[in-house]
């Protein structure tokens, strides 16, 4: 046993590599991984990939199609679309990661409380989750943004409010199923505290499926951000977002299709990439979740 402690490296590396290899073996997973890496690469290295300032207005160059100077053309104000798409990727990924992370933490805590806590608290939380879920997403977003004013924070609040009930419910359902399982009863009969049971016996067995489902939710989250920016309720102009580019494209759709293409294609690539990757992750690690 002591040998393993002194020399953990080969085992750990292999354990990291194995799932990646499994994903690459599936054509769809490999495609998904490639698309996701492409989007991340574009967003991270945006400064190096283009010399254009995404917010610089240049009315003389407006409505250009793709050309060597402007790889994706320009919009109605003459801004470089390629630069706007790359920087827009930063916004999309930032919003997706932060809000999903916050949702997961809140969802897990509330789900464990509802699932393991007393019955009345469970009923109350479930009613709350159901009420939250019964607001149509966009309607809720519109109401909140009217009150808070359009901002990235408002978008993230909306995303958290919309996704938390779903995560919490999944954790709750599984916690309830595990709560009466023989191994949890066994731990109780040995005198384990609730905290210990939640930490050692329940959380490790419920968190895997949730993380996979959350990774499959990333496209939904990116869609919400883009959708709200499309409605002019997300990022404030002139900050680039794929949604606001798409709105520019929609407004000028009778003049040129290029702006709409520049705004929509990155959304499609990103959502498809994350979905294909998420699906493969699920099939490889948790086939039980199939069909959710």
């Amino acid at each position: 046993m002591s040998e393993a402690i002194f020399n953990p490296a080969p085992g750990r590396l292999a354990e990291l590599w194995r799932p990646i290899r499994k994903i690459l073996r599936e054509p769809l997973g490999a495609l998904g991984l490639f698309l996701v890496l492409l989007v991340i690469f574009g967003a991270v290295f945006a400064d190096l990939l283009t010399g254009w300032d995404p917010t610089k207005i240049n009315p003389r160059d407006r409505f250009q199609g793709p050309n060597p100077t402007h790889l994706m053309g320009t919009d109605q104000l003459g801004r470089d679309l390629f630069a706007r798409v790359l920087y827009g990727g930063r916004i999309a990924l930032f919003v997706a990661l932060v809000s999903t992370g916050v949702s997961l933490v809140i969802g897990i805590i509330l789900g464990l409380i509802a699932g393991y806590g007393p019955r009345w608290l469970d009923n109350l939380l479930i009613l709350l989750f159901d009420a939250m879920k019964s607001f149509p997403t966009v309607m809720l977003a519109l109401a909140l943004v009217t009150l808070m004013g359009p901002s990235l924070t408002a978008v993230m609040v909306v995303i958290v409010l919309v996704t938390v009930p779903g995560y919490a419910r999944i954790i709750r359902t599984q916690t309830i199923a595990l709560k009466t399982s023989e191994y949890v009863t066994a731990a109780q009969s040995m005198g384990a505290s609730s905290a210990r049971i939640l930490r050692l016996h329940i959380l490790p067995n419920v968190i895997g499926p949730l993380v996979i489902l959350a990774s499959m939710d990333i496209p939904v989250v990116i869609g919400i951000e883009a959708g709200m920016s499309f409605l002019g309720l997300g990022v404030r102009p002139p900050t680039p977002s794929w949604g606001s580019i798409l709105n520019d494209g929609f407004t000028n759709i009778r003049d040129t299709a290029w702006i709409a293409i520049a705004g929509g294609v990155p959304i499609i690539i990103t959502t498809l990439g994350f979905t294909f990757l998420g699906e493969t992750l699920r099939d490889v690690f948790d086939p039980r979740l199939k069909g959710r």
Binding site: E182, Y183, V184, T185, G191, S193, P204, N205
Partner: protein, 552 residues
């Protein structure tokens, strides 16, 4: 005249690890109008055999060679359509799980009508035929039963309806795959009698698959014993059970606790040389002085559940006024059928359930009014073993962590934990190589041994074992029982041993309590209960107990 003749059948499955040879040169016959039993433990190839005969092999399975000749036709050469034409009118089947055997969203009547789809008769005629069949399997109010849905029937009734459906078209061969395994003993006997009666009436043959030697001995005319995908022995029931030739058959017969006529503290296992086994009589019951205080006193214990919906509230009495004493070092066998309240009582004893009346006292302390710190002490003194050997182990923990858990929960210091773990594993009959395995990498018997190691880790005074041998093959059962018997003597443990299996409890318990509908209806020394049962329910239970084939 032979209904089914299987000759040198070889079946294999393509798996990721390569071809798996599931059936090897299997040969046997099912003569006309007879019941042939197939005995074997899990993994012996029984299911593959059935699916091969029915033409329902999974996509990755294939028949490599051999013949399945049924009423003169070679089934291996039939295409899917011809095969389907046979299923129902000529070959039919009943499977193990009574809960899942019927379609949950279709009424019984529609399902029975659908089976008669080939018959060119009116709906009323078909329904009349269904009622006739339901009456034959003794479903009360058969004509009303047609409009009802499967969930409205009990498990035993569902299985009888499944039998009615299977025999509806008067097939020449009925395949019955462990049809009574999931039923309680009393129901099992009723169902088997019914099956035999109908078989004689219709005049069909039955291929009856079971791991239960008693059932096979009771029902079958001929037997084939399967082991590792091969038929290792076949003959008449009399021949096979009384004069077995193959080593495996002899060991299997000897391992069945039902075949030990005398009470013994050690049961034979598969490792024992057949014939070498000598029973070890249980020591005589110790004389208890009047001053000796019981370790555990249960007085008028009552556990109720409320099953409430918005409009009605029902109170169900799981345990209804139970009293008994348990002395240090003593084992009580708690016997009863499912729903009799034995598990609820056990859980209440360990304070995993609340009690709604009466008292449970352990070493002079009222279990249900202990404060948190006294409760920790109680958790050390009472340990539990649960029914599902693998399911009671946390799936993402290694064996060594599972065994270490009691020490960590109770923050036991001043011991060498690693040494303690390997000592416990050795005591439970597991080698050190098991320490790094996960529960899903263990067999049922191995997982049960991990459970035992964990239960004795903190040297408890009382072990509550809930069906510790349920779901284990006979060959594994003996070993686990011997382990429990050895340990309780070595560690001077008291034990509450919960089981539905009368043949097992006899060799383990000093005293037996029979539970029925939440009450203890009879309690006494094990030998007395078996020798001269007083209560009607006990008598019924004992007569339903299909003793070993040796009794024939």
């Amino acid at each position: 005249m032979t209904t089914l003749r299987i000759d040198n059948l070889n079946v294999s499955f393509d798996t990721e690890a390569g071809a798996f040879h599931a059936l090897k040169n299997v040969s046997f016959n099912v003569p006309e109008n007879t019941i042939v039993g197939i005995v074997g433990e899990s993994g012996c190839g029984k299911s593959t055999l059935i699916n091969s005969i029915l033409g329902l092999l999974a996509d990755n399975g294939r028949i490599d060679s051999g013949d399945i000749e049924f009423e003169g036709q070679d089934l291996t050469r039939l295409d899917a359509t011809a095969m389907r034409a046979l299923r129902g009118p000529r070959i039919s089947a009943v499977f193990q799980d009574p809960m899942g055997a019927l379609n949950p969203v279709l009424s019984v009547g529609e399902q029975m009508r659908n089976i008669q789809y080939r018959d060119d008769r009116s709906k009323a005629d078909k329904d009349a035929r269904s009622v006739e069949m339901l009456e034959a399997v003794k479903i009360p109010n058969a004509s009303e039963a047609l409009a009802r849905y499967p969930h409205e029937f009990s498990g035993g009734m569902k299985q009888r309806i499944a039998i009615a459906m299977a025999l509806m078209m008067r097939p020449g061969l009925l395949i019955a795959d462990e049809p009574t395994t999931a039923l309680d003993a009393t129901l099992e006997v009723v169902t088997l009698d019914l099956l035999k009666e109908l078989q004689e009436q219709i005049g069909c043959s039955v291929l009856f698959i079971s791991h239960h030697l008693g059932v096979i001995a009771e029902l079958c005319d001929e037997v084939a014993v399967m082991y590792g995908g091969e038929v290792v022995e076949r003959g008449t029931t009399q021949q096979v059970f009384h004069n077995p030739h193959h080593d495996y058959t002899r060991r299997l017969l000897e391992c069945d606790p039902a075949n030990q006529r005398e009470r013994t503290r050690r049961l034979p296992t598969m490792n024992d040389e057949p014939g070498s086994f000598q029973p070890q009589p249980a020591p005589p019951a110790p004389v208890r002085s009047a001053e000796e205080k019981p370790l555990l006193t249960v007085r008028d214990a009552e556990v109720t559940f409320t099953n409430s919906s918005l409009f009605n509230k029902r109170i169900i009495r799981g345990v209804d006024g139970v009293s008994f004493d348990l002395y240090a070092g003593e084992t009580i066998g708690l016997v009863g059928e499912s729903g009799s309240g034995k598990t609820t009582l056990a859980r209440a004893t360990a304070r995993l359930n609340a009690i709604s009346g009466g008292s449970i006292t352990f070493e002079g302390q009222k279990v249900h009014s202990l404060g948190p710190s006294d409760m920790r002490g109680l958790r050390r003194d009472i340990s539990m073993m649960f029914q599902d050997p693998i399911g009671s182990l946390s799936p993402r923990m290694k064996v060594k962590d599972l065994v270490a858990e009691p020490f960590r929960i109770h923050r036991v210091s001043g011991i060498d934990l690693d040494a303690e773990i390997s000592r416990l594993l050795t005591l439970a009959g597991l080698g050190p190589e098991f320490a790094d395995r996960f529960p899903h990498q263990l067999s049922g018997g191995q997982a049960r041994r991990v459970g035992v190691a964990r239960a004795i880790a903190l040297r408890p005074k009382l072990i509550i074992a809930d069906e510790p041998t349920a779901g284990l093959d006979v060959s594994v059962q003996g070993g686990v029982l011997n382990l429990l018997n050895d340990l309780r003597e070595e560690l001077d443990l008291a034990m509450i041993f919960i089981t539905h299996n009368l043949n097992v409890v006899r060799h383990v318990a000093d005293r037996i309590a029979v539970m029925y509908q939440g009450k203890i209806v009879e309690m006494g020394d094990a030998e007395d209960i078996f020798g001269s049962p007083a209560h009607d329910y006990t008598k019924k239970l004992l007569s339903a107990n299909l003793a070993g084939p040796g009794s024939h």
